[in-house]
């Protein structure tokens, strides 16, 4: 199936998300789509999937113009989409989610669950995406949930599969499995649109890469012939540095002290097991690890969101236990949560309001119990400018920003104040390379101001770029910290549970 978009234009209040976009997806190809946050990638794909109506332009399938008004139309035309935010019903089983909308029934409209299970099982097997058809989706890790999303499209016999940032939530191993499945899929003459901010992935999987900038296609490249640097420059429109310039730090006294910290989950299982470490002012400690190894409860305990079973946490010499959230935050802790949508932003609040969350009752934002909207607005405009947040205005609801720009709102708010300690989980998830550069520079700047910085990341490159010291979390235990440099391979194998000495020895050999 050959898919062609001609002159697609889409306007939202205050922005032109897509500006006369022409794009051709050839049969059998993996077409990469690259672009800054807010460049209009998701919008373009939502138009192709019938979720948004284009203001101008037309879509052709094998040369024939088609009208895609509803997802139904797109599905019927053979287009499948895996959304940036999963579209799965958590309380349904895998099979139920996959057949939803195209159910087979027996007499009296009874769902044919057995047939659904069998068909999904077979499809999963065939496509190299193994999954238990009868598991509840909410019990599955994100990597598997994504398989369910892909299977959903395959079950509908998609000829073109759109993957909107599929690897943002995957471990490197899971990403490799996904690439394997993509290759098998396109091998049969079907095509994939692949959106990602990771340049290396485009080079690994894409046959062609189209670059969007501010709603326009600014170029198409063969990723195998083009270096990451060239791709990055094309995307941002200026030379970008892919490595942070990080002078050695000058660590002082510890501002975060963690002693024998143990945290239990609601079921009483130990999820953080006797973890001890310090983060000194003026250094960056990076905790690497595959997600789900206890990083989230660790962070929640550090910031007072989850009770501590035993051990203690001191921030700037004061124990966290027994203090309220507000006291902890006012006491000089900045926090970038891993799930910005849930813990970092209030979606229906404006960008300006989100930029003063947690500080709304401070001078100068509030005077005599009254919010000072002009001050709040000016403050917001200044941060929007400084952090290059792409938004039509500071009064736009945060939820309508693109994913990466939402992240920049959180970062801008948390970095704006002088703080003793910064705890940042996945600070650049879903953020484009230009902005990663920017956020990384700010993190290093914070460090040099004398902040103790703790980074939690599953992104090895990020760990290597930022860390002064590195530790690895595996099954709730902490290995390290070690002074950098540590070989990338060594960190990688510790993330997979290899004994540190062995990992270091092996990593050193390479």
């Amino acid at each position: 199936m050959r898919l062609e978009l001609r002159g697609i234009t889409k306007r939202f209040p205050g922005v032109i998300a897509n500006d006369a976009v022409d794009l051709v997806i050839e049969p059998g190809e993996v077409h990469g789509l690259l672009g800054e946050n807010g460049a209009g990638k998701s919008t373009l794909m939502n138009i192709l999937y019938g979720l948004y109506a284009a203001d101008e332009g037309e879509i052709l399938i094998d040369g024939q113009p088609v009208e895609l008004r509803e997802p139904d139309d797109a599905i019927a035309a053979g287009i499948g989409m895996v959304h940036q935010h999963f579209m799965l019903v958590p309380v349904f089983t895998v099979a139920e989610n996959i057949v939803l909308g195209v159910e087979h029934t027996r007499r009296f409209g009874k769902l044919d669950r057995r047939r659904a299970s069998r068909e999904v099982g077979e499809l999963a097997e065939r496509s190299g995406l193994p999954v238990d058809p009868d598991a509840l989706v909410e019990d599955l890790p994100v990597g598997i949930q994504q398989r369910v999303e892909i299977l959903k499209a395959l079950y509908r016999n998609a000829q073109t599969l759109i993957l909107d940032e599929p690897t943002a939530v995957l471990t490197p191993q899971e990403a490799d499995d996904l690439f394997e499945a993509i290759r098998a899929f396109t091998g049969e003459g079907r095509s994939v649109v692949f959106i990602s901010h990771k340049l290396g992935e485009h080079r690994a999987i894409a046959d062609r890469v189209s670059v969007l900038r501010r709603g326009r296609i600014v170029g198409t490249a063969d990723p195998r012939e083009t270096s990451e640097q060239e791709l990055a420059n094309l995307m941002v429109g200026r030379p970008v540095s892919l490595v942070v310039d990080k002078p050695p730090g000058s660590p002082a006294d510890p501002a975060i002290e963690v002693r024998g910290l143990t945290v239990e989950n609601a079921a009483g299982t130990v999820v953080v097991d006797e973890v001890s470490f310090d983060v000194r002012r003026g250094e960056i400690l990076a905790i690497a690890g595959v997600e789900g190894n206890g990083q989230s409860p660790l962070v929640r305990a550090l910031t007072g969101l989850q009770p501590i079973a035993s051990g203690e946490v001191l921030i700037a010499g004061e124990p966290v236990a027994g203090r309220s959230r507000k006291q902890i935050l006012r006491g000089g802790v900045g926090q970038v949560p891993e799930d910005r949508g849930r813990d970092g932003l209030v979606g229906e609040f404006s960008v300006a309001q989100n930029l003063i969350l947690g500080r709304w009752d401070d001078e100068p934002f509030t005077k005599r119990q009254t919010l000072q909207f002009d001050v709040i607005g000016a403050h917001a405009r200044q941060l929007v400018e400084a952090y290059d947040i792409r938004t039509p205005s500071v009064d736009t609801p945060a939820a309508s920003l693109s994913g990466g720009n939402q992240q920049k709102v959180v970062v801008a708010r948390e970095f704006d104040l002088p703080i003793d300690a910064l705890v940042a989980s996945q600070p650049t998830r879903g953020v484009d390379v230009g902005s990663i550069e920017y956020i990384h520079e700010r993190i290093v700047e914070k460090r040099d101001e004398g902040t103790a910085v703790l980074i939690i990341s599953s992104e090895l490159d990020e760990v290597l770029a930022l860390a002064d010291r590195v530790a690895v979390m595996f099954h709730g235990r902490l290995v390290g910290p070690f002074e950098m440099p540590v070989a990338k391979e060594a960190i990688g194998s510790m993330m997979a549970g290899t004994d540190p000495e062995l990992a270091m020895a092996r990593g050193g050999e390479r």
């Binding site: 999937y49 958590p90 009483g268």
Partner: protein, 420 residues
């Protein structure tokens, strides 16, 4: 970390177990203290036969009051002891139910002391009183499973009861009355759907407005029209039907197989809706719209239309429930005659955790409280009758506050769906 939100922590379980234990101790105190000392006779007689005849007669159960109460008290005390120490783990809620059941038995023994209590009458009364509550709760389940909060069940009841009375009186047929009731229930549902689904108004506010609206309109029409035209308020009622043979079985027969069409209809509606919600394509789609409308939209399910239909069907069901008052129970409409049963239906939906069968079980419980109040009045128990009439509400509060625990409503419940 979603697991944190849904499972109960070990500490919370212990706390809950203690709370249950304290509740059981309270029961023990009442049983041991009040029931043993204030009984109005030495023996209590429980009549198990129905006055209308059956295949064979059962002997009446005659129990010595004080020994029976003491045995039951000891049993509840044992449960309390375990609750306060090791707890019952997963069966904690079940055991509170058992303790409460034993308490009710002791209470009945005390109430029937020196007199005879018709067990059949009590249980028939339970099923009857729970009929409208069950219909109302089913309406709630349908709406909320599709993501629309409907607190206006009371309003649907009133409108339906009124319309059923007028239509049945005019046509001289309860069936026409039922159609009128269904129409009125659906009309209120249509207003709810329009305001909350289409115009995306706050669903709680819309619900309150609809209750006030239905109460006001029916009261106004009653004083203005019905009181001057009594011929419009004399609906013929549905007769009691018997299933031959089955109705003759002792105990079960008169309770289950001797009903009006609405009583039988309740059983059918519960079973059918439970099946439809959880086993059919229709139910899967309806629930997907209440859990994750955007996901439903992306696979081509029409979210707003599905919600509309669910709310309208709910209106039909609530309309049948409302018709019960004038076509089954009383045979005449009077102002605010539904007496808050729409709210109890809402509680039944919650206690039943948004499932038709669960809601039906809860409706039976509240119906029992209703029927018990009537039975006690007949027995002449020395409790003021006004106090007895509050029994269903007291039971509702205790059950909802104490037993429901953390509910998991449909994830998109109450949220209007905006595309894009």
């Amino acid at each position: 970390m979603s697991a944190v939100a849904t499972t109960t922590s070990a500490a919370a379980k212990t706390r809950r177990s203690r709370r249950f234990g304290a509740f059981s101790l309270l029961l023990v105190a009442v049983m041991g203290g009040a029931f043993t000392t204030t009984a109005r006779g030495d023996t209590a007689t429980f009549v198990l036969n129905d006055a209308r005849g059956q295949l064979f007669d059962l002997p009446a159960l005659v129990l010595p009051v004080v020994p029976t109460v003491i045995v039951l008290t000891i049993a509840v005390a044992a449960i309390a002891a375990r609750q306060l120490t090791t707890g019952f783990g997963d069966r904690a809620v079940v055991m509170v139910g058992v303790a409460s059941g034993l308490f009710v038995l002791a209470f009945l023994t005390w109430a029937a002391a020196g007199d005879a209590l018709s067990v059949i009458g009590l249980l028939r009364g339970t099923v009857r009183a729970s009929t409208p509550i069950a219909f109302g709760a089913l309406c709630g389940v349908l709406c909320e499973r599709a993501g629309v909060i409907n607190i206006a069940i009371e309003g649907q009841f009133l409108a339906a009861a009124f319309a059923a009375a007028v239509f049945a009186s005019m046509a001289g047929s309860p069936w026409v009355g039922l159609l009128g009731g269904i129409g009125a229930g659906a009309l209120v549902a249509w207003m709810l759907a329009g305001l909350s689904i289409k115009f995306k108004a706050d669903q709680i506010v819309v619900g309150v407005v609809l209750i006030v609206f239905a109460t006001g309109v029916t009261s106004f029409l009653t004083t203005q029209i019905l009181s001057g035209n009594p011929q419009l308020n004399t609906p013929s009622r549905f007769p009691t039907l018997e299933i031959p043979l089955l109705a003759e079985i002792p105990i079960v027969g008169p309770i289950l197989f001797r009903q009006t069409i609405l009583g039988f209809g309740m059983f059918v509606a519960v079973a059918w809706l439970h099946y439809a919600l959880f086993e059919t394509k229709w139910g899967l789609r309806l629930r997907s719209v209440g859990e994750h409308p955007k996901a439903a939209d992306t696979v081509g399910i029409r979210v707003l239309a599905t919600r509309y239909r669910a709310v309208l069907l709910g209106g039909v069901v609530a309309g049948i429930g409302g018709s019960w008052w004038t076509l089954d129970a009383v045979g005449q409409f009077s102002r605010e005659m539904t007496g808050g049963r729409g709210f109890i239906a809402l509680a039944a939906m919650l206690v039943g955790r948004y499932s038709p069968v669960g809601a039906f079980g809860a409706a039976l419980l509240f119906g029992f409280a209703d029927a018990l109040a009537t039975s006690l009045q007949l027995l002449g128990v020395p409790i003021p009758s006004t106090l007895l009439l509050t029994a269903p509400f007291v039971v509702t509060i205790i059950v909802v506050a104490g037993l429901v625990g953390r509910l998991r409503p449909p994830a998109a419940n109450g949220q209007p769906y905006v595309k894009g």
